[in-house]
């Protein structure tokens, strides 16, 4: 029975082999989410989520749509504050500081925890300015030209744009725009980068480029990525977190663990159902 499940799981994640994921130590985690509840007005969208995000690894949030993955992601950098009806309860610790505390300024949080969105949204400014602006408003001191180049290199975009830094960021292709958004997020020298389905609006080749990029970046940054694409999660992440819907239609965390284990030997039948494509 178990081997049958394993075989089915493997074939579901077939045509992709698992990354040589490093083991991670849950003790060495940058973000600790405990009992997170999110309400929109009276409706509870997320219930009781508890996750540890290990340092310098890629953690993927997977699960069917509407089960709170993006919502939880947006709580981590307090983007939830921008929704008037949203109420967040529970705890999110970042390097020992409670992010949800009212004493914490969400603006500062976002400097340390960057975000890349599903639909590339570069500023209507030059490529150079797109990267420089975030750094500048956060008090960057130093050689901005070098900094911009550094960020663009890290985002694997430098060679393609080095001769047209003054041109508009919106004139780039979709994949390039998304890498520009990654470079922009890197400009504030965050510790954590959150990506909300970063490749879902892109073509397959750009998608692979971004996945490569993430594997490079995880050496220096902690990454959390929400994705609909299970193969992508399998290819890219070290830890996979599976979300689903409870009977009360709340988003809940079903299972979290090393990616290889989740995909080949899931503990929870719901995870197994999702992985093997029985639902979702």
């Amino acid at each position: 029975m178990a081997t049958e499940v394993q075989q089915r799981s493997r074939s579901a994640a077939s045509a992709s082999h698992f990354k040589d994921s490093d083991e991670f130590d849950v003790e060495d985690s940058v973000i600790n989410i405990r009992d997170l509840d999110v309400y929109y007005g009276d409706f509870q969208a997320v219930a009781g989520v508890t996750i540890d995000v290990p340092r310098n690894r890629i953690t993927a949030f997977i699960g069917p749509s509407g089960c709170g993955k993006s919502t939880v992601l947006r709580c981590i950098n307090r983007m939830s504050d921008l929704v008037p009806s949203a109420r967040v309860e529970g705890s999110i610790m970042y390097f020992g500081t409670e992010i949800l505390s009212p004493k914490v300024d969400p603006v500062e949080v976002r400097r340390h925890i960057g975000m890349v969105f599903q639909k590339p949204n570069p500023f209507p400014k030059s490529i150079y300015e797109n990267v420089a602006w975030g750094a500048r408003i956060n008090g960057f001191k130093g050689n901005m030209d070098e900094h911009v180049e550094r960020c663009l290199r890290q985002a694997a975009l430098w060679d393609e744009v080095k001769d047209k830094l003054k041109e508009s960021g919106m004139a780039l292709s979709g994949g390039q725009q998304q890498r520009l958004c990654i470079a922009r997020a890197l400009a504030t020298e965050p510790d954590v980068i959150l990506l909300d389905e970063p490749a879902s609006a892109l073509d397959p080749i750009s998608t692979l480029k971004i996945e490569e990029l993430l594997r490079e970046l995880e050496r220096s940054y902690t990454i959390v990525i929400v994705t609909h694409n299970m193969q992508q999660a399998a290819r890219v992440s070290d830890q996979t977190v599976f979300f689903s819907l409870s009977e009360q239609r709340q988003g809940i965390l079903v299972e979290a663990g090393p990616t290889q284990q989740i995909f080949t030997n899931p503990g929870d039948p719901r995870t197994e159902d999702y992985i093997t494509g029985r639902f979702g």
């Binding site: 976002r110 209507p124 602006w133 408003i137």
Partner: protein, 303 residues
């Protein structure tokens, strides 16, 4: 009604309903009424043409350079309304600046800062109401407040402030619309790199909204340039011989002069008024044209 089928003919038991008259007469009615509706719309256009026609017929001969260069005179042949032209320019400049600053600030607050709820709704309703107050009432406000209470007297500043208040709701509403049209993604991107609310507004939202805001302001100002009633109440003069040189001068304005000339019994002055109206309309059309051009140009130049 019988139906032929492979099963043989069957007699339908459905009762014969009386349908409305044949479809063709209903269609004819529809086409007929469409002409009626079109006629109604065209009549509006025709009235416009008639209006301009009358103005041109009466005023054409008087549309000379003298009209723009000369000053007030009791003799129609020597009359011009240069003082009124400059007075109007001063007035709308003052009103425009004042309403732009207050209006955009208010719009930013309502769209980016105000929490959803009672106070904000109240502010919004209040602005809506202000936009429906008759212009004479603004004149009365200006008279009591600026001319008398603040003892400014019947000077240009009082007129400019009154006009500024009059067009303030227009600027606010147009600016709110422009700000609302800035896509959410742009704000989210800016917030996500750790920008404060004001940084997001100043560096991203406002630049994107400026074309719409400018268009709205120009349209508001073009409304101000044609308003007469508040100026009468606030004390714009009928007889002014020189151009204004400061905000504390006595003044007149184009619509004011037109009003004065129209009221004169002599037919020549009425013709002069028609010519002055043509000048005013040309100014108005130019301003609207600039507003539309700005909207196109700045709108397209968005990267």
């Amino acid at each position: 009604m019988s139906a032929n089928s492979e099963l043989g003919t069957t007699q339908s038991t459905v009762t014969q309903h009386h349908w409305r008259p044949r479809i063709s007469s209903r269609n004819r009615a529809s086409k007929g009424f469409s002409l009626v509706f079109m006629g109604a719309t065209l009549s509006a256009v025709l009235l416009l043409v008639l209006l301009f026609g009358v103005l041109l017929v009466r005023g054409w001969d008087w549309l000379t350079l003298d009209l723009i260069l000369n000053q007030y005179s009791r003799h129609p042949e020597e009359s011009g309304f240069q003082a009124a032209i400059f007075g109007s320019i001063w007035l709308v400049a003052g009103a425009g600046v004042m309403s732009f600053v207050m209006g955009v600030g208010t719009a930013i607050f309502l769209e980016e800062y105000a929490p959803r709820g009672g106070v904000t709704d109240f502010l919004q309703t209040n602005i809506s109401n202000l936009s429906g107050v008759p212009s004479v009432v603004y004149g009365l406000l200006g008279l009591a407040l600026f001319v008398e209470m603040l003892s400014l007297g019947r000077v240009l500043l009082a007129g400019a402030l009154t006009m500024g208040l009059l067009i303030l709701p227009i600027v606010i509403i147009a600016s709110q619309e422009a700000i609302r049209n800035v896509p959410l993604g742009l704000r989210q991107a800016a917030y996500s790199v750790g920008a404060t609310r004001w940084q997001v507004v100043w560096h991203h939202v406002l630049p994107a909204a400026i074309p719409g805001i400018l268009t709205g302001t120009i349209l508001a100002v073009s409304r101000a340039i044609g308003e007469t009633a508040p100026l009468i109440v606030v004390g714009a003069s009928a007889v002014v011989f020189t151009n204004p040189s400061g905000f504390f001068d006595h003044y007149t304005a184009m619509p004011m002069q037109i009003y004065q000339w129209t009221k004169q019994p002599q037919s020549e002055f009425k013709d002069l008024a028609a010519a002055a109206i043509i000048v005013l309309m040309v100014v108005l059309l130019t301003m609207n044209g600039i507003a539309i051009y700005l909207r196109q140009k700045l709108g397209k130049d968005r990267w």
